[in-house]
Each structure stands twice: as structure tokens, then as C-alpha cells.
Amino acid sequence: MANPPLIDIQGLSIGFLGRSGAMLPVLHAIDLRVCRGESIGIVGESGSGKSTLALAAMGYLKHGLKKISGEVIYNGADMFARSTGELARIRGGQLGLIPQNSGQALTPTLRIGRQLHEALRLHCALPDGGHEARAIDLLTQVRLPDPAVILRRYPHELSGGQQQRVAIAMALAGEPDALLLDEPTTGLDVTTQAHILELLRDLARTRNMAMVYVSHDLGVIARVCDRVQVLYAGETVLEGPVQAVLKTPAHPYARGLLASIPRLGDRSLPRALEGRPPAPGSDRTGCAFAPRCALATDQCRTIRPPMVTGEAGQETRCFYPEQTTRIDMTGSGAPLSCCMADNPAALSLNRVAIRYDRPGALARFLPARPRPPATVDDITLTITQGETLGLVGESGSGKSTILKTIAGLLPPAEGTITLGDGTALTPRVEQRRPEQLRRIQMVFQNPDESLNPRQTVADILGQPLRLYFGLKGAERHQRAAALLETVRLGAHYLDRRPGQLSGGEKQRVAIARAFAATPDIVLCDEITSALDVSVQAAVLELLNDLKARHQTTFIFVSHDLTVVRALSDRVAVLYQGRLCEIGASAAVYAAPSHPYTEVLLNAVLEPDPDHAPRLLAEDATDLSPPARGCPFQRRCPVKCGSICDTDIPPWQKAADGHAIRCHIPLKDLAKTGPA
């Protein structure tokens, strides 16, 4: 490229001092060049060193890390050689950082206006009076509605997407030449993510900025980046134009990573990448990926491969780039274990409504005020035995709330929940009989939270065994070991504590704990969202396996439509605690669909640079559902008139078991099918 690189990282190695006193590297001789107007994606799984690299580009190292060798040249000079004053001017000014979780990055006690003012005061030469106008201008640029109102708000009064936009506005305050983005859309809803990515693309283009985009999500990278660098265990294993890297990757790891991503168009389980990456700073000879590589030879295990030129402008760290095509990148094609639709019911929800607000002690004596609409309302569902029901929806749609209610942790305000044999479940877990409790088990989203850090795996698995079956001593130990086998972990894990396990292993232990009760129904609350994609694929495979073997009924909650697609027999779409659409998985993902399903499906990102999401509706969600009419009325792109504001739409039967709740006739909904 003709213009000189703005950020030029050469041979950068970073490490930490190990207990033995030796320097243990977490980044190995990384080269990274970014020019103006160029956007580079850094892809890698957790622990690959991608965030460390992004921070190092600012000349910043986390506590405990040290630069071993190499240079980080920004605008002609080494960042690590600059003075503190100089760095302070560059950071946040010419070089902006957008962090992963802006809710954490914004000061909770200061209004947005104050925080933007601060950024403007430090990094631009406006007179004090001009700040407000500039702040409004910045918020308009990041497409926040009512910028003047937002300025007076505190961070907690904004949604996750709005917070992220404010963070982008703050980074833009200093008129940066380069932006570093550390997973800026991870944890956001699909629609919000798609909107933010479009915004970033436009900003990069109009301002001719250099962008370094760090993410584990190849779909995001495909959308915003020109070039991609794939990191594995702290070293670059593949570098090249986004088209080549995502379509014909010349490195086995990149191929495995792509294969592990579930896709909308493919109703089969993604292929899992076996094994796990080496721990940061661990000693190694040969190729870091060799232990997990299907093509590995003795040469790979003993000699570290150099970067070589591969197909279509890629640089790959592999001895056999031409052989990598042998590694399949499509889904596993493994048939999903499917259940009979005419199985008897396992669980029924009948007009369940859930409220978080409670009338206060004085409410009885005060004049009656209209209560806000229920958080979850009018949920009627029947789940048949051995079926997997996917519950999809954005954050705040009440999916987890429904699971908590089924588990008895949150009593419903109205409605009943009955087991397959007709016995009604008491609202509260404390009143349920042990036998009822045993039959319903729950797996939580984040295993770091759901496993007690002070217990060993044996203790964790022993709890349900002791409680439900009264197992003791050797018998309990044996059963726990057998459970670990079913989740493909060995008995040697029994003595470990959660802190000694990887994310995927922890979630396997959590799944094993649920299966310890030999349950009929397992409630899965976003159980793969805290995991890396390759690990997620393995967990999905495991669930499918367990389902086939134990005929277990699953309720699988996720915000990720592709994951739900990969695993579910039936899917229910929720918006703000109300059902919009329900039906067999294939039917829900095809036309006709509810306008909301449509919006969600079109916002899904694929790891394909030629695929563009379509933004059909605004991403702003109101905090509470409307008091009357269709719950989706405020965002619906095809609203058909005042009837949507006043009447709750009827269920329209589209096909056997497929129903859509909308005023628009089915034949019109079918016309607007997914592109």
C-alpha cells in the first residue's frame, strides 16, 4: 500500500514473570501494520492474547506484563519510548479505544454530558462554550436519538447499545486517526450489534480512520474488516485479506474455527475443534496448534513453522498450506436426534404471567394506580417428551425469567405449570416435593457463577447425588466419575476446583451436575454464550448426544438464532415477555414469519464477507411492554395500522404446529420472507 502504516508493530513479544523467575511469553513476535482507512481484524479465542495486543498498540500493558522485545510504532515513533505526557495526549486523542463493556467503562455517577465534556476538554481545542454543541454533534454522529436528552442521562439509564454508542462518541471526541476496538459488540443483541457495526463501517469510511478490531466472532470481522490476522496461543498463524481468510483459509486452525460456527442456513451441528489451546506462557516446541491438528506430522511437533505465503495473498504459519483444504469447513452433518411430535407432554405452561414489581405495603391504602404491564405475559406452551424447545429473543425478552419460573425460583403472578403426568408444580421451589425437584434441572449461563469456587468437582457433583439418591462415600464417588465420563471428562477431574478448569470444562461439569439428578427436563439458560465458538460447538454436540441417549427434554434459551437453529426441534420467539411465533424449527426460520422474527433473522451475521445483514427496524427497546395492543408495535417495520396499537393480535395457524401472532394475514407475511 502506498501510504505509510499508521500503526506498525514489529516483532512484539510480551510476557509475564513466572514463579520460576523466567519470562513466560503471552505474545510471540507479532507483526501488525495498519494504514489510514484500513481496518484490520484480530481474531482469536480467549487466552490467545488478542486484547493484550490491542492494548499494547496504545503502549499500555496490564499489570504484571512486560515487553520482551519488539516495537510498537505509532505515527513514526515507538509508543513504549514516549513520555507519559505524550502518551496521555495520544491516547484518547489521536488513538481511541472502545472497550468491550461500555457499561463498565463509563463512570456511573456522572451524566453523559459531563463525561463527553471531559473527553472534549482534554483532546480538542474548542472554547468551553462550544462543547455542548460538539457533544450533541458527536451523539448525532453515533445515531443516538434525542442527543440533548442523552446528555443529561446517567449511564445506567441507557441500554447496552446506547452505552456502546456513547463510548464510540467519546472515542470520536478527539478526532482520532485510529480506533482500537476490543470486542465492542460482544454481549449486545443481534439487532443492536448489526446497527453498531454499520455505524462503525460508515465512520471508518467517512473519516478515513485506521481500525484495529479485536473479536472472537468471525461474523463481526467479516462485516467490518479488510484484512484479518488470526491469533492462536499468542502468535499469528494466519494473515490475509478478509475474503481469502474466511473463504479459503490456509491454516488448519482457521478452518477448524470456521467449521465450529453454527450457521442459519445449515441445520446440523457445527463441527467441534477437539482439544484446548496451550496455557499462556507455557513452554513449547514446534507448532502451537500441532496437538489439535489433523494434518500434524513429526516435523510440526518439533520445528516451529515459519510464515509462508499461501493462497490468495495469505501468510500462514503452516508447513502444509496446500493440504489444509483437506480439513472440512462445513458442519458435521451429524443428524440431529429428533423426537416424535406425538410424544406425550413433558411440561405445560398455561397462561403464565410473571411480574417483578410488587405492590408496596402502603398500596392497599393508597388510591389504586394502574400497574405496569407484566414482565412476562400470557405464555402458553406445551413441551413434549424428548423434545428440544428453543426460546429466542433479545435481552429483556423474558426468556431467562420463564426458566426461573419453571425452576420455581420466581413464582408466577398468574397461570399454572404442570408436569407431563398432570401434577401441577407449586409456584415456589420450597414447596415442591424432592421427586418433582429432581425431574427439572437447570444449567446456568455462566459456569464461573454457577459453580461454587470453593468446592471440588466431586463436591459439586455430589450435591444432587446426596440430595436425591442419598448416595454416600465410594458409591457417590463412583457415580460422580461416571457422570464425568458422560460429559467426556475423565475421573481425574474429581479433585479439581472450578478455578483449575477451562470455560468449556466448567460448563461440562455444570451439565454433568444437572444430569446427576437423571432429570426429565433440563433448562438451559444461554449455556454457550460465555464460551468460545469452538468450545460452544463441542458443548452443543454433547447436548445432542445426551438428548439422544437419555430422551431428555430440553428448553434451550439463547439470544443466538444460529445456536438455537442448530439444536432445537421447535422454536418459540419472544418479544418483551410475549410469544410472537412458535413452530417447528424449520418452519420458524422460513417464511411466513412474524415481523419480529424477520428482523432478528435479517440481523444475523455470517462469517462471510459477502453476506450483509439487513436492518429492518430500530434496535432501541423500551423498558416496559406497551399496555395495549401488539407488544412489537413500537418497532414493527410493517405495522398495519391502529389495530396494532389497540388489539392484541390473534394466533394465526400457518402450518401444523406453526403459529404466528400478528394482524397481518399470513399470505402477506409470506411475501416478506427472509432474503
Partner: protein
Amino acid sequence: MSAPAAPPMRRSRLWDTLRDMAARPSGAIGLMLVVLHLVMALISPWIAPYDYREMNSAVILGGPTAEHLLGTDHLGRDVFSRVLLGGREALVVTGIATPIAMLWGGMLGVLLGLRGGWVDEALMRLVDAFLALPGILPLLVLITVFGSGNEVLTPTLAFFFGIPVIRVARAAAHEVVARDFISAARARGHSPLSIVRREILPNVTDTLLVEGAMRWSWMLLGFSALSFLGFGVAPPMPDWGLMISDARVYMSLAPWGVLGPVIALSSLIIGINLSADALAKTLGLDQGRKAVV
């Protein structure tokens, strides 16, 4: 951090913790002081050069000499011997009362933290009301009613010093209760007591241990303050608080008289505080300096 699999042969956690504490300067000094005091309290009856009751009218308020290293008091008793012996009562009483205070305060706090609701609210307001009083006042009231003596002092101290522990234990439990493994245990149907014992207590013991060490030093000060006021140890038993009180009267004549007990008491308190500080850091409760990798 994903350390390589820990070797199966591990010494007890207590030993590991003590060793890690001793590796820090604060821990090394603190533990040394505490151990020194404990050893001294144990062996002082055999090494004290004089009987603590032995009066010598020839050397009343005498200065430090070779026979009397720290001089003599207003009754001509050897101050050095009395300093050596003066911590025994305090250590025994607080040594028993501290664990009792931690136990009842800790258990109640954790239960309230788990249960919440109006019982929690009501009891916590009571605790607040109590904490608003100057600490020594209710102590004095109880002692005036029931009389002094160790059999009264021990339960009294255990009761009053356990009240602030409720607050600490409740706060620590609150942090744990919000986590999903508690929801998971509730959803499985475990009883509250089982949840407290298996899920919460293992996660709050660290906090309670550090708190206990701090409470111990507070209690020692409280005990000495009572003795100083004449409500604690009865003469002629030597006690640092009492000795300071006695020597204070003659400070202008024999300023060295207060020196011995003051140094003894403060070195023990400082030792405990330093140890508590090192313990907090070792257990990772001190968030300020946590390594990233």
C-alpha cells in the same frame, strides 16, 4: 490462572497460608510478634525473675537497674516480671471470647444475608442502633450489674464484639447469595442450613478469618481499657491495662513505669494487625494488589 495441574501431595491449607503470610514483610513481623507474645505468655511463670506479688519497700518507684530491668512500681514490685505476666489474663479471655464472637456473629450474619426480608431488616436496625453507642458503655453497664471476673468478662466481650461481626458476615454473604450457584442449590431443593454450610460458609470464611484477627486486637484493647478503668483484672494480678492505670499516677516521678506495659500491649496489637493485613493479602481479599496473570 490455569496453572499446571497441582501436585497431588499438598500440605494443609493452614500451613500454606502461614508460609505465604510469612513471605510478606508485614506478615513476617506480625507473626513474629504474635508468636513471641504467645510463647511469653506460656512460659513467663517460669522465667519471670520475681514473684509478681513480691513487694520491696526499699525500691519503690525505682528506675531501671540490673536487678529490675524496667524498674519497680509504687509498691516496689518488679515491673519487668509483671510485664511478662501481664498479658496472660488478656490473652486467655480474648482468646476464648474472639472465636465465640466470630461464631455467633458470623452464623447470624450469614443466615440474615441468605434470608433477607423483614427479619433481616429489623435485626440490622438493632445492630445499627447498638453500633451507634460508644462501645465501652454497654460493657460497663453489664459489668456493674453482674460484677467483673473472667467468667463474666468472657461472655460479655464475646457478645458485644460479635455484634459488628454480624454486619461483616452479612455483607460477605450478600455477595455470595447473589451468585448462580446459590440459585442452583435452591432450585435443587437444598435446605437453607445446607446452603449456608456447603455453599456460603466456604466462601466467607476467608473474610471472617481476617475480621476475626482484627476483632481480636480490638477485644484486647477493650479488655485492657476495662482493666485500666478498674473493671477488668483484679489486683494484685498483673495486667497491662491495670499497670498503665497504676503507673499513670506516678508518671512525673517514674516515667518508665508506663513504658513496659505500653510497649507490650502495643506490640501485640501491632503484631495482630500486621498479621491480619498479611492474611488478607494472602487470601486475596485485598483487591488492591492482584496480579493479572
